[in-house]
Each structure stands twice: as C-alpha cells, then as structure tokens.
Symmetry: C3
Subunit: 166 residues, 3 copies
C-alpha cells in the first residue's frame, strides 16, 4: 500500500517568500520511504485559523499529514493549538518519543510543543521547523508509521512484536 | 491494606464471546501482588458511552480500575477518550512510562494512546489489549502503585525515596 | 538579560505556618543561575481558585513562575489543574523530562502530575514539593530555560544546536 501524504509548512517567512521551504522539500523526499505519495502541499503563515482550515481540507485527501514549523515556545508558534483543535483522538507517544530521543542529541528538542493525533482516518503529526529536526524526527517515527497508518484505516491484524515486511 | 480492584476488558470480540478474555484473566492474577482483591469485572464492547458508564460504576466500589484493550489507533479504539471523560485529575507519568519503557522492547508500544487519572478516590489506568503488553505494563507500574493508591486515599506520609515495606 | 521570576509555594501546612517553606527558599537561591531575580513570592494553601488567582497576578510581572508543591496524587493536590486553567499554550516536554529523568533516581518521581505552559509572555512550571525534588528538577531544566524564556519573549534567533553563552 502507498499512503497519501499532505505536507503543511507553517512559517511566516516561508509564506511571504522571505525564506525557501527547505523542511517541506525535505519531507517530500523522506515520505517516499513509507512508501508515501505527496498529494497536498502548502506553505501557510503562523495563523491558527488558517492552519486549522488547511489541516481539515488535507484530511479529506490523505492518510497522513506532516506539518513542519510553529511548534516552539515563541509567541507566533501555534501549530500545536491548531492541530489540537482538529484531531479527535490524541496519539501522544509519537510526540513524547521525538522529544525524549531528540533531547539526547540536542537538549533544545525538549522545547518542541508538537503533538500528534487522529482525525477521521488521517494521522496528523507536528514536526519541528528546522530541516535537521525534521530529519531526526522522521528517522524516529518511520519504523512505527506504516503499522500505525494501517491500524487507523481499520486493518484488523494484531499488534504483534514484528515490523511488517514491505 | 488490601486494595479493591476493578477490571474492565474492552473488546468487541470479547463482548460477543468470539474471543476468550486472556488479558482480563491475567490481570486477576497480577493484582494479587498489590496486594489487591478484584471486586468488579466486566467485558464490554469498544463503545465510548458504555465504557464511561462502567468506569463510573466501578469507581464507587474500587481503589483502582485497570482497563485492557481499546488503546490503539484503530477506528474502534476509544478507551482513552472514555477514560478522559470520567477522570478529574490526570496522572500522565504512568502512561508515559509504559510507552517509553515498552518501546525499548517493542517499538509498537509507542502507539498506545492509553492514559491514567484519578476520579474521586479511584485511580484508573488504561493498559493495552494483548496479554504480553498487560504483563509488561504491570511490571513497570507495580513498584509505584501501592504508594500512589495510598496517597489518593489521603495517606499523609511524605513522598520519600524508599518504597514502603508491605 | 536577567529574568523576572515568581515563586509560588503551594502547601496547606506552609500557608498555616505549620511548616517552613524550605523549597520556596531553595528556589530563591537556585534562580540566580538563570540569571533571575525573584519579583513575587507567596505561600498559598492547596486551593485551586487561590492558586489560579496568584498565577494570573504573578504573570503580569514575571517571565517565569515556579510553583512548588501540590503536584502529587493526594486529594488536596490540585496545582496542575490550577495551572492548566491559566496557561494558553502547553509546553509538555519539561514535565515529561522531569518525570522520566527523576524516575531514574527515584521511581516515585513518575507520580508527579506537574505540567508546564505559557500564559502571554510568562512560562509557568510546576515543580514537586520536596526540596530534593525541586533541586533535581531545576538541574534538569536549567540548561534549556534561558533559551526557552528568550523565545517566549519573541527573540527571533534560530533554534540551533548550541546553548547560548551567558
């Protein structure tokens, strides 16, 4: 199975063309390993309502939405709040794991306020904004992502101890 | 002190007699080590309202409710949502710990959406559905559970560094 | 930059003069390393409304509020609930980290229900009640705190991998 993926880059500078979207472009490459196909991609400013609306739209077309940016403690960082407002069922472990494992390499990773959760049949995951953090977060999540996405779609196999061959 | 325990198995297949409740029966044995006595035990389907009602009923008679099942990302898994609706004070560390330590043995443990929290004088803990995960989760929690339950009952001793002799 | 700090000790016994506020006094010393200056300090009983009101008042004058006490599972422990009611944006990693690292030294640290979060331009962090736990928690948080506080104030520097020289 090839999963449909949405990438939402949240960045005031990216949305106003002041900065290239390195992290969004990186995610385009990384999702191939799922295997995944990018169906939706946009860059929006750090505005809670706009992020919410895009997430809801993307959910209709994707199995997985990856956001990058807006997860820190700065005043304009509201990606977790926008995500919280649209998910129905939280999946706290993914965010906890990225913080804890990220912290081993860079203590500042603990400051990410990112969350993860499920809306209907779509998993939404907040990744940090920097390409390095995106890459490290993806490496942590990839081993469990395909199994998780299949479960969300209603795959009835038991949660055993072995990763699926794909 | 012997703690009163409720066991709530949440499983569509268990409730319709398609599958034996191995995890619930395992928990009956495991709680003896608290030491605990099982006062309430039921198997219910993965229906949020039904789970909520049982949790509320069990709280009147028990110090501790252990649920098993319904914590994953599948569409019918709603045990954490039902639990969230009835607890008054969250106890996030127990769920974080089970995910993090479980992840070391089986990466899929990070996908458990289980929570823990306090309603009145009762602690409710969501355990995963598989007997193996129940057994591993219990092993992680047991060293801190008696002290936690005594605190919830209003035991005024200080939170020192040593486990109580029992 | 020297950060303005509020210290709020939450303790029925402290508020009624039955016990000296060792943890609050310890925090007065510890914050110097930020570097920080204590602007507000009070001892209040474990009453949710009173804690909320003090937190809101302190926020107008401080960059950082450290609470000590009221984070456990006992019936009167309501500091996390009072804090949850006044923060606008959660910062879950700090509490997760204190629990996980604290657990390595003392398993009971996992029972802390403390949270952390941002209200306007102020970071609020719940620390446990015992001086030992306060000291250990502070040691864990200090390396990331100044960077976090600067971000909350809108400092636009990137979240790089190196700690700021101070």
């Amino acid at each position: 199975m090839i999963f449909s993926v949405g990438i939402l880059t949240i960045s005031d500078k990216g949305a106003s063309y002041e900065r290239a979207d390195q992290s969004g472009l990186l995610l385009h490459q990384l999702v191939e390993a799922l295997p995944g196909k990018v169906i939706c991609y946009e860059i929006v400013p750090d505005e809670e309502k706009i992020i919410q609306e895009k997430l809801i739209l993307f959910c209709d077309q994707t199995n997985l939405i990856l956001t990058t940016g807006g997860t820190g403690p700065a005043p304009r960082d509201v990606t977790p709040e926008a995500t919280q407002a649209v998910i129905k069922r939280p999946l706290p472990g993914m965010a906890e794991l990225m913080r804890m494992q990220g912290y081993q390499k860079n203590p500042m990773a603990i400051l990410s306020r990112g969350i993860a959760g499920i809306r209907n049949e779509t998993l939404i995951i907040n990744l940090p904004g920097s390409p390095k953090a995106v890459s490290e977060g993806w490496e942590i999540l990839l081993p469990v992502l395909p199994h998780c996405l299949e479960k969300i779609l209603g795959n009835k196999s038991e949660c055993g101890g072995t990763l699926k061959q794909r």
